[in-house]
Symmetry: C2
DNA sequence: CATTAATCAACAGGATTGATTTATTGACAA
DNA sequence: TTGTCAATAAATCAATCCTGTTGATTAATG
């Protein structure tokens, strides 16, 4: 448990549950918290008193107009804690400071031909030092989360330096807070879970289409990482034709057909409609297949599709997936609702920052 | 919570954890329990004192021969609780009384052409009445579990009576203990989890090949049922060729090719080797495909294959699945270990009985 | 006599219960 | 219209309970 570094955060399970509820449902009065948690009003009084005293909750203006004593909704204190997120991409490395309610306060990025350990480490260290220097000394930084594709060395010989390189360990060396590292597609899922706009159920599968396709699985409101931290490897799911999801539903596939790279932001996304259309159709088939597999396996009611792609492209992809889903045999199961994610390109970096948040503030993050 | 009926069982989370550990690892001394649960020795003393007083644990003979005070291993009390299991099959309905350590104490069965609600209800009610009558009045029956295929009405017009029929509710009407109902393939998985011989990890997928193929998913040591109780619907998983797993890996498929039904026990299983061989090859392909899907989605290290089939057939099926697994693309994931189940035909009825057991005695079964 | 198992006695933390305080709406009488 | 009061709901206070921990103690063995 990397908690010696952050003695100011040591929340009990019930305190985490309260914060999690307020994060998901918005400002809530104490009575509502008692109702939904099943705890006694007195317990809620005690717990929220601590959370307010420690700066994690704010009491809002009293709400009048109903019978009985007016209620005082409690909301998350935006400065209750802050989180650093580092995202390593194929063309772009990003660093962000995110506050307790999910707003990006500082953002820096750097473009490269391909990422190397040295380059990333230097960018991150310099960036973090600069950010920390610009912050008041009492800024409460809970940790750093890193979102990175796994097996970077598989991308080509120029990436061999990543083999055996312990990025999280190296970053943690000189930082006064813990470092967490997760697959970038999983962090995109975590971001939707923690910061997402959509009202999502407690169980969903998240598909993220970026340079490669990946995903995440949320069960009972918690991101599943698996015993070998490799759950949600949706890109590796087998699909018909002896292929895997990432062979179809990846931007890299589109780039290969295009014969050129697409830029790391939406502005320069110029793809001939027929090329894009064919890619979307095939990707939709593959996405529907893995989505339905997940439903059969886990009884998932909702599948979220997001990606580092323009919104119209994403919308078309969702439409294509819905259509393909309707064509697949589904005897014995209910086809899931397929919805668009709410975070698009920012999902991975937000999710990186969500890693320390989940660790310290979500029920079951760790510790008690 | 159907617990008003069984006031004599009201175990705390830690008490359940102790029983669960002893069930899985065999007789354990208190010191080992303290070690593995993380609780203090004193807490273990208090908890086990209660469990022994209430008849759930037995103190064994002290173990000498090591340095220090000899230890007294604690084991499950066989009569700590008993469970009824009802299994509805295509040709056979079974009823069993299972004790706290998983031994079948009483077993009755009835063969029919096809199951109807009336027939099953009558068999179950008569059987339960007889069993209860034969038992001393202080036999501690915790509940009845029912293992049944879902969507029985899809099997043909003669099964229409099952549509909308609330079997669990009807059975519960005149029983002094709660009734639990689950998909039969899921109960087979539950049986392997609770009563299985094999040392299984905390996460595994269970594939059960019976009249139809089905399965179950165990995550963090708990059977996943899903928000609509339809998790582990592995038979409905899509496989290449626009089909579902149950189209290939079901005994019904073999029967269709054979042109006749196979008997509900291993003794009359006579299938020409080449017919069986072809079926096994195709089923192995399909099983490997869904197994690998599960691994990619959930990071599962072990896949268990079992079924209501003779052991040599099961062994060949596992071998075929291993071979097919090796042929599938697995970039980015680790192929799982594929092992045989330990319960074969008895898995479903044992799993039915395991439902009330899990509810009352496993951590997280329900309640506190 | 070091070592390990198990228990005793005192205590601590986090919850519950039941009584109490506070602030409001809505009904009704003046 | 306005003043009064019952009903309602939010929140807290005070006492208690339950379940665990800690630290000292006893027991049995190589």
């Amino acid at each position: 448990m990397p908690n010696d570094l952050t003695p100011w955060i040591d929340l009990s399970w019930n305190e985490r549950q309260i914060l999690s509820l307020v994060r998901r449902r918005g400002p809530l009065p104490r009575a509502a918290l008692a109702q939904t948690t099943g705890l006694s009003p007195q317990a809620i009084t005690n717990l929220t008193r601590n959370l307010i005293r420690n700066g994690f909750l704010d009491a809002g203006a009293v709400v009048r107009g109903k019978v009985g004593q007016p209620s005082t909704p409690l909301s998350l204190a935006p400065d209750g804690a802050q989180f650093l997120g580092l995202k390593i991409g194929r063309r772009l490395v990003e660093l962000a400071l995110v506050d307790f309610v999910g707003r990006v306060k500082i953002h820096r990025q750097e473009i490269y031909g391909h990422p190397t350990p040295d380059r990333v480490l230097t960018f991150a260290r310099n960036g973090i030092a600069t950010i920390l220097g610009s912050l008041p000394p009492d800024a409460r930084i809970a940790g750093l989360g890193v979102a990175t594709p796994f097996r970077l060395w598989d991308w080509g010989s120029e990436m061999a330096g990543w083999h055996g390189f312990d990025l999280a360990g190296r970053l943690a060396e000189d930082l006064p807070f813990p470092v967490f590292l997760e697959n970038d597609a999983s962090t995109a899922c975590a971001a939707e879970l923690i910061f997402g706009r959509s009202a999502l159920p407690r169980d969903f599968v998240h598909l993220y289409v970026a340079h490669f396709a990946g995903g995440g699985v949320v069960l009972d409101g918690r991101l599943r990482v698996g015993p070998r931290r490799n759950a949600g490897a949706l890109g590796s799911m087998p699909i018909p034709g002896g292929r895997q999801l990432l062979d179809c539903a990846s931007v890299s596939t589109l780039e290969a057909r295009l014969g050129r790279s697409l830029p790391p932001d939406d502005s320069g996304w110029q793809v001939p409609p027929d090329t894009e259309g064919r890619w979307i159709a095939e990707a939709g088939d593959a996405l529907a297949f893995v989505a339905l597999s997940a439903v059969a396996l886990l009884d998932i009611p909702v599948v979220v599709i997001d990606g580092a792609i323009p919104r119209p492209t994403r919308a078309a992809l969702v439409e294509a997936t819905r259509a393909a889903m309707a064509r697949l045999p589904a005897a014995g199961i209910d086809r899931p609702e397929i919805i668009e994610g709410s975070l698009a390109r920012s999902a991975r970096i937000l999710g990186a920052a969500a890693l320390p948040l989940a660790h310290f503030f979500e029920p079951g993050g760790a510790l008690t």
